[in-house]
C-alpha cells in the first residue's frame, strides 16, 4: 500500500536531478531511501532472538 506526499515543484525537480545523478531508478526511490535512513536512526531495533530465529535453515550459515 502506498500514500502520496506532496512536494513543491522546485524541490521535486532538484530531487529528480540528484536521484538520476546518484543512480536511483526514480525520485520516489531516492526520497524513500533518505527517509528510511533517517528513521532507522530513531527507531528501536528488533530483538536479537527474533533476528536469529528468522535466519534458521538458511543453507549457507550454521
Amino acid at each position: 500500500m502506498t500514500t502520496s506526499i506532496k512536494l513543491k515543484n522546485d524541490l521535486l525537480k532538484r530531487v529528480a536531478k540528484v536521484a538520476a545523478a546518484e543512480g536511483y531508478s526514480s525520485a520516489e526511490e531516492f526520497v524513500e531511501h533518505v527517509l528510511e535512513r533517517e528513521i532507522a536512526k530513531l527507531e528501536d531495533a528488533q530483538s536479537d532472538e527474533e533476528i536469529a530465529r528468522k535466519l534458521k535453515g538458511l543453507g549457507y550459515i550454521d
Partner: protein, 664 residues
Amino acid sequence: MVPHFAYIGPGAGFAFFGSFLTLAAGLCMSIFSILAWPFRMARRALLNRRSFRKARVKKIIFLGLDGLDSRLTERMMAEGKLPNLASLAAEGSYRRLRTTFPALSPVAWSTFATGVSPARHNIFDFLDRSLKTYQPRLSSARVGRPKRVLRLGRFRIPLSRPVLELRRKSQPFWTILGKLGIGSTILRVPITFPPEKFDGKMLSAMATPDLKGTQGSFSLFTTRIEKASYENGSRYPLRRAAEDFEGEIEGPADMCVEGSPILRIPFRMLRRGSAFELRIEGSQCKLEPGVYTSWQHLNFRTAIGVKVSGTARFLLTETEPECSVYMSPINIDPEHPALPISHPPYYAKYLANLLGSFATVGMAEDTWALNEGVIDEDAFLDQAYSIFEEREAMFLDALESTRRGVVACVFDTSDRIQHMFYRHMGASDRHANVIEEMYRRMDALVAKARTFVDSGTALFVLSDHGFCAFRRGVNINSWLRDNGYLYLQNGGRESASFFEGVDWSRTRAYALGLSGFYLNIQDREARGVVRSGREAEELKHEIAAKLSALRDADGATPIRTVYETASLYRGPYLEAAPDFIVGYNEGYRCSWESAVGKITAEVLADNPKAWSGDHCVDPVLVPGVLFSNRKIDAADPGIEDLAPTALNLFGVEPPAWMEGKALL
C-alpha cells in the same frame, strides 16, 4: 543454532486478516473487475499493438540454471555429454558470464533483474547487519508483525496486514516492460519475496519463509529421544503405542492469543506390514521406508478459529529397532497462502490447482537435513529432483501459454546438488557421477525449452556463478582478533555466535555474512570507534595488505584478493555494503562460524560438512555461463547486461541508471 522461539512471523494474524476484510474487499474488486473487463481488454489490445511496434522479438526466454559452472560445462560439452547446450552454442553463442562482487545468488540475480550493481540494488550478501546491535538480518526481505492489533482479553486481533518489505531496490526489467504493456512470467527468480506488483505473473523464490517464519527448518520424529531438541532442524520424540507410533507436529505460534503458544497437530502412524499409514487430522497416506509422501496439508487452528495452512512431505528413514520420520520444512500452502508468495495472489493457487502442490520456501532443497545426517544422499537427491520436476512443469506451462513477452525461470537444483556432492566428484564412490548426471539433466531441460523457440524468440540459458571445492574455512573474526582489530571482553579469545562478548569500544573491524567484513565506523555503527575519512582509509589499506598475506599450515594462500568495496562500484546504497569483499582462493571460504559472528580459537579449519562445494570465492574464479540462440558479440558479457538486453530486444531504450549494456 538457537533454541526455538515463539513464532514472530505473521502467519496466523495474516490469515485472520485475510479471512474477513480481504474477503469483503475481494468480492467488491471481483464485481468491479468483471464490469471493467471489456474496457481493460480493449485498452490492452491497443497498448499491445503500440508496445511491440519497435520490438525485434516476440518473446524472450530466460532459463536460469543456478550455479552452472563454466569450466565443468565446457569440459562436458567437449566430451559430448551436453549435446543440447553444445548445439545451442553452435547455433548462436556461448560465453562465460561475469558474475557480481560477491558471487552470491541473491546479489547476482538481483543484478540480473535490475541491470545495476549491488550499490544500486542494495543486496550485498544473504545477510546484512543492524547498525545498532551488530546483529545479522536477512538482507533481502523484512517480515514484521501487524502494526495495529486489537486486544480483547487474552485475544490479539490483528487489524492491519503484517509489514512485508522487499529490500531489493531499483527496478527489474519486467516492471519497466510491464509499464509499456509487455507482460512477463517470472518463476522463482531469487529475491522476489514479497512479490511486487507489475504487469505479469510472478512466483516468489529465495527469502520466502516457511510457515514458522524461518528460512526452512525440518523436523525429525524419532524414538531415539525423549525430549525435543532444536538445532537447524528440530527433533521430537516419537512415542510407541503398541504396534503403532504417535507424535505431535509443531507449527507456527498463535499470535492471536496472549503468550503466543505454539500451534500443534497430533499424528499417528499405524503399522501396515513393513509400512505405515500416516494419519494427520482427517487425512491419511501411506508411509513406506525411503519413499517421500506427497505434499500433506497441515491446518493449524488458532485460538480464534482461524486456519493457517501449510504443506509438508514425510519420509520414513528407519523402522527397526528404532523408528524415525523426517518431515520437510512446513511450506506456505500455495493453495491457501498465509503470506503473499505470488503476483497476482491467485497465481500460486492456479499453479497448485493445475499441477499439484509444490515447494514454496525460498531454499526448498533441505541441505541442513543432509548436513546433519537426518536424511541420506539418495533421499536428498529424490527431494531435489522432485522439486526440479515441480518447477519444470511450471516453466513448461508458462512457455505453453506465452505467445508474446518474457518467461524467466530459475532452477536451483544445479546449485544445491553441487553444494552437497562436490566432495564426491572424482571419488570412486557411488555418488561420484551425481554432478555429471545433474548437468546432463539440465541439458535435457534445455532441449525441452528449445522446442518453444521460433524465429521470433530469443533464448538465454544462464547461470549466476560457477563452483569450487570448499575444503577449508577462514574465520575472519578470529584473524581480526589475532591481529589486534577485534577484542573480546575480559581478555577472552573465543565467543558464541552473534558477537557475544565482543568489546566494541576497542574493536575496529568485524565480519558478518559470507562475502566480507566491516570497519566499526563512528557515527555509522552504534558503538563505532574508527573515524571515517583518513583514519578509515589508512586502516582499510593496512588490513587489506595484512590479510592478503595470510598463509595456511601447508603454505597455501587462502585469500587471493581483498577488495575494498568502494573501489568496485558506485551507487546510493554503497554505505550498506561490507567495507571489504574477500576474494578467497579455490578450496577456501569464509568459515561457518565467521559468517554468524562467532570467534573461534583457530583462524583456519577443515570444513567437515556434506556442504562441500561453494562459490563464495574471488568472483573472477567462478564466472557463470551464457548461451543464446542469438549471436552475442560482446567478448566479456556480465550478468548486469541481461536486463538492458531484454529491454533493447523489445525496442525499449535502457534507462540511464542501468549500468549493463545491451548484448544484442
